[in-house]
């Protein structure tokens, strides 16, 4: 019942957010960035924070999927497919968000045509393009046989599966074993690619000597850890809602909760190490950014959102007796995911607001040369549409993930050939006894 209500409300809010947010896209496409509130002192804003939020979710859930497909960890198997779906959908949303942010949106291909091998951003883009291809191919091979079988389903889904399976027809166990080998290989290649590309996102910030709050060797590591935390938390929540995990995969959810707790604590430790060392060293720009974060006008983003909601409450839940209760665990995971939006905002914005030249904002009078930033309506709208799209794609993906029960139930009785061969997986599961 709760699950039904949750699913429903996700669909409704997804569609509503997406449609309302289209107004923002219209403004963005016709007026460019005129109605954005960032400027030349704070050149990156909400969209970049949303970008690193989603890209972290993607890298994190991909790395968790590799626990199933590379290391064969049974415990996490029920979320294997879901984690690849999450990785694909969040990557798409991340790219959309960063695409809205660039001044000439239709020049994105310049990164490939005019490469600069010294640029951390260029490396990051090349690596996530590789990662995107790899992810798509891996997901395809993972689902191939089930999709081929599901072409026999009645209704609109069959059409989608027909389009998605191309000319592939094989449903034999041999072909399935072949698929699995490819999946394992791709997933193994994917691990270093995901580590490099998400470490690269951290490095993009870490290499900026001009912003001392970013300029830390810990940044790539912090990004990887926080990817695992937020990605793991999102998976926990998604498994609970979309796979009826609260009833069927309690153990997986509880185990994911403990994994998330572990990396969350490690991530917090790293963050505080960074903050304490910087605070002790007293590098002016870095200290100013930290002060802004903990005691600036948006102090509550740090204390209430990031620390309270995103860290303390989930840690208490996940280390209390409630850690064995799938409802509480998925609730805690939800708080972590939401809390991470605050983390991402605090990574991007305070370091920029500090500015580089004292007195610049009073030297000229312009809203673009200002050291305060709050996203404009257009920025919020575009973000809303991306979040709405995320919810919708997620719901759609969940509907389309070929589910064993459905195929077994509806295809088998009419298909004598399938009867002898098909050993389909239950919803969410990926491997069967062969």
């Amino acid at each position: 019942m709760t699950v039904y209500v949750l699913k429903r409300s996700l669909w409704i809010s997804g569609v509503a957010l997406f449609l309302v947010g289209l107004v923002g896209w219209w403004d963005r496409m016709t007026n460019g960035e005129q109605h954005a509130n960032y400027g030349s002192i704070v050149p990156w804003g909400l969209w970049i924070a949303v970008y690193i939020f989603f890209i972290g979710l993607s890298a994190g859930s991909f790395l968790i999927s590799s626990m199933v497909y590379v290391f064969g960890m049974k415990k996490f198997e029920p979320v294997g497919r879901l984690s690849l779906l999450t990785a694909l959908v969040t990557l798409g949303c991340a790219l959309l968000s960063v695409w809205a942010d660039i001044g000439h949106m239709f020049r994105f291909w310049h990164v490939f045509a005019y490469p600069n091998f010294q640029s951390a951003m260029a490396w990051m883009i090349w690596l996530y393009s590789t990662y995107f291809l790899l992810l798509a191919v891996e997901t395809w091979y993972l689902l191939r046989r089930d999709m081929v079988l599901a072409r026999k389903l009645p209704g609109w889904k069959a059409v989608v599966y027909k389009a998605l399976t191309f000319r592939s027809n094989a449903t034999s166990d041999e072909s399935h074993r072949h698929d699995r080998k490819i999946v394992k290989r791709l997933a193994s290649i994917g691990i270093p690619v995901a580590i490099m590309f998400h470490g690269g996102v951290g490095a993009l910030f870490g290499v900026v000597l001009a912003r001392s709050a970013w300029n830390s060797g810990l940044f790539p590591i912090l990004f990887l850890l926080s990817a695992l935390v937020s990605g793991g938390a999102l998976l926990t929540l998604a498994a609970a809602i979309f796979q009826d995990g609260l009833n069927r995969y309690r153990e997986t959810i509880v185990a994911l909760g403990q994994l998330v707790l572990g990396v969350l604590l490690l991530d917090t430790l790293m963050q505080f190490a960074d903050i304490l060392v910087a605070g002790y060293g007293g590098v002016p720009g870095h200290v100013a950014a930290l002060k802004l974060m903990v005691a600036g006008p948006y102090w509550w983003v740090f204390w209430i959102w990031q620390i309270g909601m995103g860290t303390v409450i989930p840690v208490v839940i996940l280390s209390s007796a409630k850690r064995r209760n799938a409802h509480w665990v998925s609730g805690a995971a939800g708080l972590i995911v939401l809390g991470f939006i605050g983390v991402r905002l605090n990574i991007v914005i305070p370091s920029l607001v500090v500015g580089e030249i004292k007195g610049l904002e009073t030297a000229v009078t312009s809203s673009r040369v200002s050291a305060s930033y709050f996203p404009s309506a257009m920025e919020w709208l575009v973000t809303m549409s991306i979040v709405g799209l995320f919810l919708m794609l997620f719901g759609l993906g969940e509907k389309l993930l070929p589910s064993g029960s459905e195929v077994n139930q509806q295809v088998l009785p009419h298909d004598p050939n399938a009867q002898e061969k098909v050993a389909l997986t239950p919803e969410g599961g990926d491997y069967v006894q062969s």
């Binding site: 460019g32 010294q118 270093p192």
Partner: protein, 289 residues
């Protein structure tokens, strides 16, 4: 014969077979040690690869610290003791380059005074055209670069994608994003609308969706005033607008490669500083204090 998995039973069946290629050596449950070993192995490999790759690339691609052999090395010596803070240079720059609101190739920053009776300190700040420009290094599309002939850091408007990474990387806030904003008198339909900017000798108009709107912009030392040989001429008025207009004669412009130039002589005679030396950017703009 394979048994179809009964999905209707309440518990999930064993999903990983004993001979599953996805598990280690027939062991259906991976031991923790194996997992950790494999994880650290691939992680370490990736990290080592990235670090080694980055290091090698850096060695291969790093620019020489000093642009030895360039024909000219243009720069400025700005005498803070002569600056009266009139900001004529800011206006002259705006007029010359027709920059839109929010885009300033040159600003005059006032240093905060601790006591009201302290003498004010004004800091005229163009782009420093660093010898090691961090902005150039970070650009993902090589749209911004340091010109070989004279060390001026420029932006290729047709290549720039407008990601603004260079703005974050410049330690001196010398870069501004063109949001497409207009002054009331340059707005569409006004007398000054569509007056092109002479910068880079490209005479671009300012309109939504067309470069330089959506690009990052910066001071060019008014390089459109150079002659075919890349030389400026102060007498003929082909001189960076800010230096030409400076009422207190505080902005000195010239070629540091020429030992007899005014700027080279000033550096020899006077005590000068550069901003944020610790970053290793080696600015080509010096301040006399």
């Amino acid at each position: 014969m394979n048994e179809p998995v009964d999905v209707w039973i309440g518990q999930s069946p064993s999903l990983i077979a004993e001979d599953d290629p996805l598990t280690f050596d027939g062991d259906s449950l991976v031991s923790r040690r194996n997992l950790i070993r494999a994880l650290t192995g691939s992680g370490a490999l990736a990290l080592a690869g990235a670090i080694a790759g980055g290091g090698v690339l850096d060695l291969l691609l790093a620019q020489p610290a000093r642009a030895v052999g360039t024909k000219y090395r243009y720069g400025m010596v700005i005498d803070t003791r002569r600056c009266v803070g009139c900001k004529a240079c800011v206006v002259a720059c705006k007029q010359e380059n027709k920059t839109p609101p929010g885009v300033y190739y040159n600003v005059v920053v006032e240093d905060t005074r601790e006591n009201a009776q302290d003498r004010p300190l004004w800091l005229t700040k163009p782009c420093f055209h660093c010898e090691n420009p961090p902005c150039v290094k970070v650009c993902p599309v090589s749209a911004t670069y340091k010109r070989e002939q004279d060390g001026i850091v420029v932006i290729d408007y047709d290549r720039c994608i407008g990601c603004r990474y260079c703005i974050t990387a410049c330690p001196y806030s010398a870069r501004y994003f063109d949001f497409g904003d207009e002054y009331p008198f340059t707005a569409n339909g006004q007398a000054w609308a569509n007056v092109p900017s002479p910068e880079y000798d490209q005479f671009r108009k300012h309109a939504e969706g067309i470069s330089p709107v959506g690009n990052v912009r910066k001071c060019t030392f008014c390089l459109h005033l150079q002659d075919a040989n890349g030389q400026y001429d102060k007498e003929a008025g082909r001189w960076p607008a800010c230096a030409k207009t400076c009422t207190g004669k505080a902005i000195h412009f010239g070629d540091f490669n020429d030992p007899n130039s005014e700027v080279s002589q000033l550096l020899l005679e006077k005590r000068s500083i550069r901003l944020k030396e610790e970053l290793g950017t080696e600015p080509n703009v010096y301040y006399l204090i």
